[in-house]
Amino acid sequence: DAMVIQNPRYQVTQFGKPVTLSCSQTLNHNVMYWYQQKSSQAPKLLFHYYDKDFNNEADTPDNFQSRRPNTSFCFLDIRSPGLGDAAMYLCATSRVTSVGETQYFGPGTRLLVL
């Protein structure tokens, strides 16, 4: 009964070849997030959707885009992956309440760029 599902778990792509990572949730949460996590570093927020409202972090490269066609699905598109984009990509969801939110994470997709 996985709640946040990420596919694929491992993705290999070539330098400059577009790649799409997917995330789906069964929690009906209104917020979905994409994080990038490199080895021995904290997860870094790339962007998030609050319902249909897209919020891009100021330092997220233009190379990264996202789509959320409906409540359940969210995609991360990397238009031209570079070697520095190799990382674990984490999807998370939450439901915002008046007191705060708790994020639920998927297992991540490990991206390797050759």
């Binding site: 946040v4 021995s40 570093q41 904290a42 997860p43 927020l45 998030h48 609050y50 919020n55 984490l90 998370a92 915002v96 007191v99 705060g100 939110e101 708790t102 994020q103 639920y104 994470f105 998927g106 297992p107 991540g108």
Partner: protein
């Protein structure tokens, strides 16, 4: 801007030893506080959280954390660790940023428990 500092990046303990992982944060307003755990090969899971009320928070698997507002700290503790506690532990804060709730993670502490 908000930030989180985890002092110990790698901790090695023997089973039954007591654990305390430090977490300090910087934020000018109200914060919610979290500890997440990532077991080897698994995804990030919530260990415990503090939104308000009793500053001593109890989480799963015998973990607890204490919010000390005057010290901007939220240290994680466990009186007696087990081999199965080997994992990476992330402290995180949620503060108001630009009208959206934003969570900032610390760099993580890798805990290795030796049988």
């Amino acid at each position: 801007a908000q930030s989180v500092s985890q002092h110990n990046h790698h901790v090695i303990l023997s089973e039954a030893a007591s654990l305390e992982l430090g977490c300090n944060y910087s934020y000018g307003g109200t914060v919610n506080l979290f500890w997440y755990v990532q077991y080897p090969g698994q995804h990030l899971q919530l260990l415990l959280k503090y939104f308000s009320g009793d500053p001593l928070v109890k989480g799963i698997k015998g973990f607890e954390a204490e919010f000390i507002k005057s010290k901007f700290s939220f240290n994680l503790r466990k009186p007696s660790v087990q081999w199965s506690d080997t994992a990476e532990y992330f402290c995180a804060i949620e503060g108001r940023s630009g009208g959206y709730q934003k969570v900032t993670f610390g760099i993580g502490t890798k805990l290795q428990v030796i049988p």
